[in-house]
């Protein structure tokens, strides 16, 4: 609990700093300075430039904000879906519960990487980079809910034998009226599920991007920048190539820290 506050402040500080960097006058994650390819850090490019002469600091800041926003949204969707499915399975009768958990198992068994590749190749080619980013996170959310739903189901099942539930039933409450009281009681389970999913989605997007299947150019993404690390000669040319990885690791640690502390 001691670390929670510093972690939150650090994360908030990063968000504010990234927002300031992206909104600075003249800052552009698209502009190619073709005379400054893989330039070292300077006053005009504090973290140097990438292989196309684009400002690395602005791109990292934009990728951080984009990834965080997408992961938070996907996590919220996942948690909401998990809460709905898990609660329905726990309180909707034995056969419905069994059926929903089978669906969860089927989703968990899907080769999601191939599924994502198929979805990516089936998208209209003119899908804008922003839309492709939104679809990427949407697909991640669509595939990410079953594990959380299973956890919620187990939590909700325990609630059915709790003292307050017996009192509620004894008081004559049934069906939707009971659910109204169940959801707040599941919050201690849903909040960690929500927080744990955020770094998982950040990582999933980075992996997809590193395979060239995530957010489209010229929109910056963690994965797109990790793709540069595939090239060891470039690593030797400028150490600043490692900057996005270091920041990604820091962000993931902070997000995991928030989840653990919660």
């Amino acid at each position: 609990m001691k670390l929670r506050r510093p972690v939150l402040w650090l994360l908030l500080g990063l968000i504010v700093a990234a927002s300031l960097i992206v909104s600075m006058p003249g800052a552009s994650y698209v502009h190619q300075d073709r005379e400054a390819i893989l330039a070292a850090a300077s006053a005009s490019h504090p973290a140097g430039t990438d292989a196309l002469g684009r400002d690395r600091l602005v791109r990292v800041a934009a990728a951080f904000l984009l990834s965080l926003a997408g992961a938070v949204a996907a996590s919220a969707l996942t948690t909401a879906a998990a809460a709905g499915v898990g609660t329905l399975a726990a309180f909707g009768g034995r056969s419905l519960g069994w059926g929903l958990m089978v669906v969860c198992d089927v989703f968990l068994a899907l080769p999601w990487m191939f599924l994502l590749m198929m979805v990516r190749s089936a998208l209209p080619l003119t899908t804008s980079p922003a839309r492709s980013a939104a679809i990427t996170f949407l697909v991640l959310a669509a595939l990410g809910w079953p594990a959380s739903a299973r956890a919620v189901y187990r939590g909700a099942r325990q609630l059915t034998t709790s003292d307050w539930m017996l009192h509620t039933r004894a008081a004559g409450l049934r069906g939707p009226s009971v659910i109204r009281y169940v959801i707040p009681n599941l919050f201690p389970l849903l909040v960690p599920q929500f927080l744990i999913s955020i770094p998982a989605f950040v990582m999933a997007e980075a992996n997809l991007g590193a395979l060239g299947l995530g957010v489209g150019e010229p929109l910056p993404s963690w994965g797109g920048m990790l793709f540069e690390l595939n090239n060891s000669p470039m690593l030797l040319q400028t150490r600043w190539v490692c900057f996005p990885v270091i920041l990604l690791v820091l962000v993931l640690l902070l997000l995991e820290g928030v989840a653990v502390e919660a």
């Binding site: 390819i37 292989a51 196309l52 990516r120 080619l125 003119t126 010229p218 030797l236």
Partner: protein
């Protein structure tokens, strides 16, 4: 404490596995006067008649004795096992006179009977030799041997550049195919260990002699380690364990250049091209207005003029590529048209051309005459960093014209599905690897009826007068008797392509090689194999 011990055990296992990986590539000790380099994967066959992949081709090149050799440096066909050869005026009869006293590596004599047997084996449908297709009608070819040193082939029809075909046909002992273990070339296959190496040893009966009359080859043997990683190849070349890298990517070339500048050589443009094209197929599922843009010559020319090819070469290839304007590279000395007139970078001219064609710029967005904003996607394959960089650079170049471009990378199967089957794409950026300088080898791209006529595959009749003209010229050159007449036709095709821009050529990636300064006799050539085409004359300094 228990955990620490576990970690230590893991680290120990890891530290053992690193040298093991290195050893895997160097399982055989390096013998004196032996040359060592790498191939990327296991050869699929050692039967020289069945070669259909690059690494099997490498082994065949190093081991096979052939009647004629295509000199990679001069780009001319030269006699090898044949002392001389002649082609009849109608191109249907080829006569070879063999060198006297030829012997296979096992000491048996090499006669016209062995040559006829090897040729018949290649031509037989039962062998399914890929090279047989180059005779156009292999079933109609007959081989006769008037005497021990003469072989005559009768062809049912003239075949363009027939001499080069014999560079790919190994002469083996009659009735004793040996998968490279008995050859008349400089080396023979001595040992093969799957996923590790192919070991070749010197053929003591090889007929080659150097200018001073010494027996060739100089090297006692060759070890071809099977190594896919360029990183490992570069490291071991620097350490002196490998002698050469026949083709090296620009980023690793730069890395080597900084560490050992004497090891690398940029040979200038290769025969390969990188190009962008628009989908002009009438049957594609694209909206009618997009098809109209792509079928509009002014639109294609404007795109070509807006692209800064020198930036593509400098940034995507680190300066190791050459701006391209034709499907024939300047490295192709015989067929490149030096007087070609092609649209060069001129953004103002591109804007004026689009305005004249009815397009108008509103703010930063270009609209066509019917009011549709000009936006399209450029498709390329994922995993190719240079192509992805080029597509992103072109994206910014075309933004100057008001075109909104989306760059899409797809894995190769998904890409091919769109290109060859669904036709559901707008523009595509890909490359073409040319190993043959002969323009006839590109017939399948230029004939409008071909499924590989990529901007509009398998046309029943040519869709435009200029495509009909290309068909006519390509067929005409294939029937021409002299190279002079053929050159005129090929030059005209180059000019039509430059005028119409069905393919917008971007760059010729340069031929980049690396070799040990101790390796003697190297004469790098743009055509592959670039460093080992004269393998019988290569040797390490100081080796006996």
């Amino acid at each position: 404490m228990h955990l620490s011990r576990r970690i230590l055990v893991c680290l120990a296992a890891l530290s053992q596995s690193v040298p093991l990986t290195t050893c895997a590539a160097q399982a055989a000790p390096r013998l004196p006067a032996e040359l060592v380099w790498t191939i990327g994967y296991d050869p699929k066959t050692f039967d020289p008649a069945k070669v259909d992949d690059e690494e099997s081709e490498t082994v065949r090149y190093l081991t096979a004795g052939v009647l004629l050799r295509f000199n990679r440096l001069t780009q001319k066909v030269e006699p090898e096992l044949a002392q001389s050869w002649s082609l009849s005026p109608d191109g249907k009869k080829i006569t070879f006179l063999l060198r006297p006293g030829l012997v296979f590596s096992d000491g048996s004599s090499l006669t016209a009977r062995d040559v006829a047997w090897s040729l018949r084996r290649v031509l037989s449908p039962a062998t399914a030799a890929p090279v047989a297709e180059e005779f156009v009608s292999p079933a109609g070819v007959t081989v006769v041997t008037p005497n021990q040193r003469t072989v005559v082939l009768h062809l049912p029809q003239r075949v363009i550049a027939i001499g080069k075909v014999f560079d790919e046909i190994a002469i083996e002992p009659a009735g004793r195919p040996s998968e490279g273990r008995v050859t008349s070339g400089p080396f023979v296959v001595a040992e093969y260990r799957r996923s590790l190496y192919v070991h070749l040893r010197r053929n003591p009966h090889y007929a080659g002699r150097d200018a001073a009359g010494h027996s060739l080859p100089w090297a006692a043997g060759i070890r071809l380690d099977i190594v896919e990683s360029m990183e490992q190849q570069v490291r071991l070349l620097l350490r002196g364990d490998y002698d050469l890298i026949d083709s090296i990517p620009p980023d690793y070339f730069e890395l080597l250049r900084r560490r050992a500048p004497a090891m690398v050589r940029d040979l200038g443009p290769s025969l390969n091209t990188e190009q962008l094209w628009f989908n002009q197929s009438p049957g594609s599922p694209l909206p009618a207005w997009e098809k109209a843009w792509f079928q509009n010559r002014a639109f294609r020319v404007a795109v070509s003029q807006a692209i800064h090819r020198s930036d593509l070469a400098r940034i995507a290839y680190l300066g190791h590529a050459t701006p391209a304007y034709s499907f024939i590279s300047p490295a192709n000395a015989l067929w490149y048209d030096r007087s070609l007139s092609a649209p060069h970078t001129d953004v103002a001219a591109a804007q004026a051309g689009l305005a004249a064609a009815g397009f108008r710029l509103q703010g930063s967005v270009l609209f066509d005459a019917a009011g549709h904003p000009v936006k399209f996607s450029i498709l390329t394959n994922s995993g190719n960093a240079a192509r992805q960089k080029m597509a992103t650079l072109i994206q910014q170049d075309l933004a100057a014209l008001g075109m909104q471009v989306t760059v899409v990378t797809l894995d190769f199967p998904a890409l091919i599905e769109r290109l060859m089957h669904t036709q559901d794409y707008e523009a595509c950026l890909l490359g073409l690897e040319n190993v043959d300088p002969e323009p006839n080898a590109m017939m399948n791209i230029w004939l409008s009826s071909s499924p590989n006529h990529q901007w509009s595959p398998s046309e029943k009749t040519p869709a435009t007068p200029w495509e009909a003209e290309i068909d006519r010229l390509m067929n005409q050159q294939a029937a021409s008797a002299t190279d002079g007449e053929r050159k005129q036709d090929i030059d005209r095709v180059q000019q039509i392509v430059a005028d119409q821009q069905p393919f917008i050529y971007l760059v010729y990636p340069n031929a980049l090689v690396a070799f040990s300064p101790r390796l003697q006799g190297v004469q790098p050539a743009v055509l592959t194999p670039r460093l080992t085409w004269n393998v019988d004359q290569l040797r390490m300094q100081g080796a006996q």
